[in-house]
Amino acid sequence: MTMFHFFNCAILTFGPHAVYYSATPLSEYDTLGTSVKAALVYLGTALVKLVCLATFLQVSENDGFDPYQELLKALIGFIDVAGLYFALTQLTHRNISQNHKFQAVGLGWAFADSVLHRLAPLWVGARGLEFTWDYILQGLEANANLVLSISLAALGSLIWLRKNKPKTLIPIIYACAGIVATMPSITSYLRRGLGWHFSKVVGFELFTSLVMAFISWQLFSACQRPYRCDAHCPVVSYEIPFGHRCKLQKTQIVYIYRSRGMTLAPRLVDLIG
């Protein structure tokens, strides 16, 4: 029954990505291409990080926590952030809203991370006779990583793509982005320096990922441009609805994608902003 266990752990590790893609409007807006491009960018970033780690890092004999080495690893971890910047800004996306762009990039990023870091140990280890909780914990870690990646992508898109943000929120945004970006170093410190058990570390990751997701959601909403369906409609929305029926005006606003050769309705605000 060990293939069964492998199957279970695989759906725990990779299922949420597929569920996220199909449940949210991402699937309707056909953002698969964006996710795939983000995954490829992640691959490139991982290779660059590998080369840098191999060049600059010394292999230590014991498994302890060496502050200097960890600092180096954290600095190299910022290459991740650079990769995310590249994926968010430099890749040409079809005209999808900013809202969906960061979700797609975050999803592709997290999926590539899971595949690269968790698929091989799963294939090799989970099919053996011996039962350990490790692979289930690893799957939970993949879930936490998904949430963290999407939060980081949201904060990243806020930093680089949103031009006019409320002044008071800017330091908070940068602080949160910094925390999320250094999460790998924090977890490795907890595991090696404090000697926490793997299950405790995973619990901590899940908790912080939910907290950071909530915070970045609030920040993102706070920076959103409000939209009205009509200049006189008091109803304000932050979403870009499809087939939205304005409750007050009882008019129907329809958004049509540029890519399909049709134009936006003229009185609608700039979506890309």
């Binding site: 029954m1 069964f4 299922g15 949210t24 650079a82 091989a120 053996g128 011996e130 499809f242």
Partner: protein, 562 residues
């Protein structure tokens, strides 16, 4: 950012990528990697046929769940391995299982660490007698029964103790061995045991020539000193036989060394030839000794004055026994016995005489001297055993390890035999002369005895599993060659009523497994988690209406062109 790489670096990266991909393929190809909770060395019960009837454990491979003695009553054990430490073993329970042919998946007996000749040699043991008797009974039961499932022996260590404690805990809670945690699976992946094709017995003989003056036309008389060196026990990979018959071999080598010192100088060379024999096939009615004697020239056989066979002289206190088959009134027997008892008196120990008649029609040969007697050669066996051993008994079992052998006893035995031999050879019977006195250059060397005893106590010596050029047999030959003039090695096939099967030791993998119900439960939990996640995401991003509409009918999108 990514454009500052040199083209050489790019090629390096590609190469490293290729190696990563290659590694990936190798990993994918590795279907099963060993990742057991524990791996233990185990030793199998002997498997043999005697006159066609099968005995011992008939299977070697194992792949079952484990249970301890606290298993819930009435449960079916035909696919379970029982793991029993020796101190909890109830011999009636095992006997009942074997005699009533109750089905069992396998049996693993845990022996105390003190018996492990590889590591536990120095530990003190306080329950020696009880353990010895229990082990002897267990061995006797297992060796003479037909057991249609694998039986293994292992030594207790920390790993297996924790596993056993876990198994006991689960059994006491009434959970069978297929629960989510604590369910252990024992796997021994070996092939079917095969017959040992041509088991060889190797007899080693050493010849020390006596002083032949010109006047002697006839051959000098010969005295033979013989000991059998192979063992037999319940676990052939553990049968080191320190006392039976490691003590005899060591004594023979020391006597050879002492007499080689005497015979090296022609002035002290005696007028007797000395024949040293290290025979094999001892447990099997001294088959090897018989073949060795049969290979002798008639003249040589007739020239043997008498033979002394050494058997288990390593753990006695004050009394040794001389076993003979000719009646004690026989002049030669009297001579031998008197010679030995005179020296014994001086050494402050007792020798007794035991007479056992040979029954020619009975193929059972209990002592080595009986093989000599059947060919009309006077012989006696010197041993600490007062009772005649049964077939396959006292041949180096599980209990016969190094710490239960007393080297002082062997030293005294060597002195006894060497002195009486020397007095006979040099004609000093009855005189109180100590040839091998302590502090002299001919003193018995306890360090020599100790070092050889240590080597023997770490070498299992079951004859069918010793090949023709086994390094230990070669070492014995080399050692004997250092003391005597001429060494001959004779290889014989162990035929007759015994057939043996291989696969004597293996590696046990202990896996902690989860049951099918756990996997199904996990699948259920994960399925519901994904469904909940899906609903949550749909509700938060698209609204509750969308979720409901997913289940009603295919969502119809009304397009209104602007």
């Amino acid at each position: 950012m990514a454009n500052s790489k040199k083209p050489g670096g790019l090629r390096e990266m590609l190469e490293s990528m290729y190696s990563v991909i290659a590694l990936l393929f190798i990993l994918v190809a590795c279907v099963e990697l060993c990742d057991a909770a524990a791996a233990v060395d185990v030793y199998r019960l002997i498997q043999y046929d005697m006159s066609g009837s099968p005995f011992g454990s008939r299977f070697a491979a194992l792949n079952h769940h484990a249970a301890s003695l606290h298993f819930p009553p009435g449960v079916d054990l035909s696919r379970t391995v029982l793991i029993i430490p020796l101190r909890e073993l109830n011999i009636t329970f095992v006997r009942e299982y074997i005699n009533q042919k109750k089905p069992l998946g396998g049996l693993l007996v845990l022996l105390p660490e003190v018996l492990n000749f590889k590591t536990g040699g120095n530990k003190q043991d306080h329950e020696k007698e009880k353990m010895k008797n229990l082990l002897a009974e267990l061995e006797r039961l297992l060796v003479h029964s037909y057991i249609p499932y694998p039986v293994y022996f292992a030594f207790e260590n920390d790993e297996i103790d924790t596993v056993l404690a876990d198994i006991k805990k689960n059994d006491l809670m009434g959970q069978p061995a297929t629960a989510t945690t604590g369910g252990y699976k024992f796997v021994i992946p070996t092939a079917e045991p095969k017959k040992v094709a041509t088991p060889t017995m190797t007899n080693i003989q050493g010849w020390l020539s006596g002083l032949k003056t010109d006047g002697d036309a006839n051959q000098l008389p010969t005295i033979a000193i013989v000991a059998s060196y192979d063992t037999f026990g319940a676990a052939p990979a553990l049968s080191v036989g320190s006392d039976s018959n490691g003590s005899g071999i060591v004594a023979l080598l020391e006597i050879a060394r002492l007499f080689s010192l005497l015979y090296s100088n022609p002035k002290t060379r005696g007028r007797y030839n000395l024949l040293f024999g290290l025979t094999s096939g001892g447990p099997y009615n001294y088959n090897g000794t018989q073949k060795w004697l049969r290979s002798f020239d008639q003249r040589l056989r007739e020239s043997i004055d008498y033979a002394i066979c050494l058997n288990s002289i390593g753990s006695w206190d004050n009394e040794l026994w001389i076993h003979v088959s000719k009646p004690p009134e026989n002049a030669y027997i009297k001579q031998i016995f008197e010679g030995l008892s005179n020296v014994a008196e001086e050494l402050d120990l007792k020798v007794g005489l035991k007479h056992k008649k040979i029954n020619i029609s009975n193929p059972r040969v209990a002592w080595e001297h009986e093989q000599f007697s059947r060919l009309r050669v006077t012989a006696a066996t010197l041993s600490e055993l007062s009772v005649t051993p049964e077939l396959l008994e006292s041949t180096g079992g599980l209990f016969d390890t190094r710490q239960y052998v007393n080297e002082t006893a062997i030293v005294r035995g060597v002195k006894l035999v060497a002195e009486s031999l020397a007095r006979h050879i040099y004609g000093h019977q009855g005189k109180n002369i100590q040839i091998f006195a302590d502090e002299s250059s001919l003193a018995v060397n306890p360090a020599y005895i100790r070092s050889w005893l240590d080597v023997l106590s770490q070498t299992p010596r079951v004859a069918p599993f010793l090949s023709k050029d086994d390094p230990f047999v070669m070492a014995l030959k080399k050692e004997l060659a250092g003391h005597v003039d001429e060494v001959n090695v004779q290889h014989e096939t162990l035929e007759g009523i015994f057939t043996f099967y291989d696969s004597t030791s293996a590696r046990l993998n202990i896996y902690q497994v989860a049951s099918v119900t756990f996997d199904l439960l996990l699948l259920l939990v994960l399925g519901s988690y994904l469904i909940v996640l899906f609903s949550f995401l749909v509700i938060t991003t698209r609204g509750l209406d969308d979720l409901i509409s997913l289940f009603r009918r295919p969502p119809s999108r009304k397009l209104k062109t602007a």
